[in-house]
């Protein structure tokens, strides 16, 4: 077992132990804080697949986060008011079942990634950054100007959605759901990285001409990872909306895209648990420094600067060392 795997296991143990302790100590706020970090981590893992393995610097991942959030918001608000989403051509009712909402969020975000990816992946470098940013902002302004679902004010859901056999309003039980999903997403990301697709994608980031010369299309590889990445970030969006029982256009904003990217860079680009570390550190700084000063993001900025300048592998790289190519 190498150093990074040990670090990852230790991190996950701590992220599991803290809420369990908080539950025993009756500190529900701490549980919610960790749950929030894990949801951001899932969003970051989504981006990390595209950014770390595919080299796709997307500044529009808030689009998928927001679509996941609004999938939850729209389905749950219709279930709450007992009104169907639409009656023609088929009757489609709302839902307050988490699994149904997750599947919807994943499907909607995946479809959006498939459509926007086909356009944005025809560009590269700074143009790709700009086009993904533009797509994200398009969704943002659409959400702002869509009064049916709250417009600028957002959409409140009064009761957290349901999961069979669990009381989702209990913070520790909702945490357990999110933790299980985080483990599932981490396992998926690790499996994809090891797969034939992962090998080809990783090579396409380094030398697209080589990949093409062996008969594999770099465009198809990138589109596939972009869709997968969007789906995972969409799932995180649905969970985030459920955590807050509220969705608003800010989930689509470019600041959200920037924050998701920050989780990845802080923790370590292309490192499996990089976004988990990044999101945890972000939430910890927000909590502890935010209590001291309203300008806590200045310290976050300094940390980010130091990481980018001196630790290219992020915090994971700093502790576990340079990533090894392993057979």
């Amino acid at each position: 077992m190498n150093r990074e795997t040990l670090l990852n296991l230790l991190l996950l143990c701590v992220l599991l132990a803290v809420p369990v302790w908080a539950h025993a100590a009756e500190e529900p706020f701490i549980i919610t804080l960790v749950t929030r970090a894990l949801i951001f981590a899932i969003a970051g893992i989504g981006l990390n697949m595209a950014l770390g393995q595919g080299g796709l610097v997307s500044l529009g991942h808030a689009m998928f986060f927001g679509l996941g959030g609004y999938s939850m918001g729209i389905l749950a608000s219709h279930a709450q008011t007992y009104t169907p989403l639409f009656e023609w051509p088929i009757l489609l009712e709302g839902s307050n079942s988490m699994p149904v909402i997750w599947i919807t969020a994943i499907a909607v975000a995946g479809l959006a990634a498939l459509i926007t990816g086909q356009l944005s992946l025809r560009t590269s470098g700074v143009y790709f950054i700009m086009i993904t940013l533009a797509f994200g902002q398009m969704f943002y302004y659409f959400a702002v100007s869509w009064p049916a679902y709250g417009g600028d004010d957002g959409l409140s859901i009064y009761v957290r959605n349901e999961f069979p056999g669990l009381n989702t309003l209990d913070p520790i039980q909702f945490f357990a759901i999110v933790f299980a999903l985080l483990i599932a997403v981490l396992m998926l990301a690790a499996a994809v990285a090891r797969s034939p697709f992962g090998l080809a994608l990783n090579a396409a980031r380094q030398s697209p001409a080589r990949v093409e010369a062996v008969g594999i299309s770099p465009y198809r590889l990138r589109l596939l990872v972009y869709v997968l990445s969007g789906m995972i970030t969409g799932l995180a969006g649905a969970l985030f909306a459920d955590l807050n029982r509220f969705v608003s256009p800010s989930m689509f904003s470019w600041q959200t895209s920037g924050e998701i990217m920050m989780f990845v860079i802080l923790g370590g680009v292309a490192r499996l648990c990089g976004p988990v570390v990044g999101a945890t550190v972000f939430i910890a700084l927000e909590h502890f420094l935010g209590g001291l000063s309203d300008y806590w993001q200045i310290y976050l900025g300094v940390l980010l600067l130091v990481i980018v300048l001196f630790a290219r592998g992020g915090l994971v790289g700093l502790v576990a060392g340079k990533q090894q190519a392993h057979d």
């Binding site: 090891r194 797969s195 090998l199 990783n202 030398s207 080589r210 093409e212 008969g215 594999i216 299309s217």
Partner: protein, 249 residues
């Protein structure tokens, strides 16, 4: 008549007012090494790019194993059996030597986009990759990170990746570029044995290697084919001597 594996038929290509390929036709016959030579700027690399599918000719046809591939992209041509190596090594430098070779085997396999299972544990791919590395003499470097290889070893790895594709034809753009005498002679020996597997169309400036290896040589000058013939025919061709080779004094 022997059917050519690769046939370039009356290719023309312009970049604005500059014509880089003028009515170029050449064949690659089974079992041969066909060298493409010419001065800098003659349009050799542009021709290779058109054959590989990176550039589309303005007119003319490219046939691979009897099929017209002119309108097909690089990846599809590769899957149809065209394996190329690059003038400047195009390899995944952060990956190991074995991973690079495995990439080639993956490209030639039926499921290169498969999302499950470990690529490194696919025994059928690994066998192909390891055999190719063994063939080029890099078996003992399989687990070395590619960036740590010498320039000569990178050239060998380029050929190993091409070998994993089990190609119908090799297209090699200056395989000897940047190699010293020792490296050049190692690679010359290796290329000599490859022709049994598939014919090689090779752009090369190292005339010693060309004369040692080539069965036929085509000379390209200002985008136009000046002559095609055996080594002896090309060496004695007056036009070629004037345009490119010079005369022995």
């Amino acid at each position: 008549m022997i059917e050519p594996v690769l046939s370039v038929q009356q290719i023309n290509k312009h970049f604005g007012a500059l014509q880089v390929s003028k009515d170029v036709s050449l064949d690659l016959l089974p079992g041969e090494i066909h060298a493409l030579i010419g001065p800098n700027g003659a349009g050799k690399s542009t021709l290779i790019q058109q054959i590989a599918g990176e550039l589309k000719p303005d007119s003319g046809r490219i046939m691979l194993a009897g099929h017209d591939v002119t309108q097909l992209g690089t990846a599809v041509r590769s899957r149809r059996g065209l394996a190329r190596t690059f003038q400047i090594s195009a390899l995944a430098m952060e990956d190991t030597v074995l991973q690079n070779a495995l990439l080639g085997a993956l490209g030639a396999s039926a499921h290169p986009y498969r999302l499950w299972g470990s690529a490194m544990k696919r025994s059928e791919l690994r066998t192909v990759a390891e055999q190719a590395l063994d063939r080029v003499g890099l078996a003992d470097q399989a687990h070395t990170v590619t960036a740590q290889l010498s320039h000569g070893q990178r050239r060998q790895l380029e050929i190993a990746v091409a070998l994993t594709l089990s190609p119908k034809a090799f297209i090699m753009d200056e395989p000897m570029a940047g190699l010293g005498t020792q490296g050049s002679s190692t690679l010359t020996g290796l290329l000599g044995t490859l022709r049994e597997q598939a014919p090689i169309l090779m752009v090369e400036h190292d005339m010693e290697a060309v004369f040692a290896l080539a069965d036929r040589i085509s000379v390209l000058v200002y985008g136009q084919l000046l002559a095609t013939g055996t080594v002896a025919q090309i060496r004695s061709n007056q036009a070629v001597q004037q345009a490119y080779l010079g005369t022995d004094t």
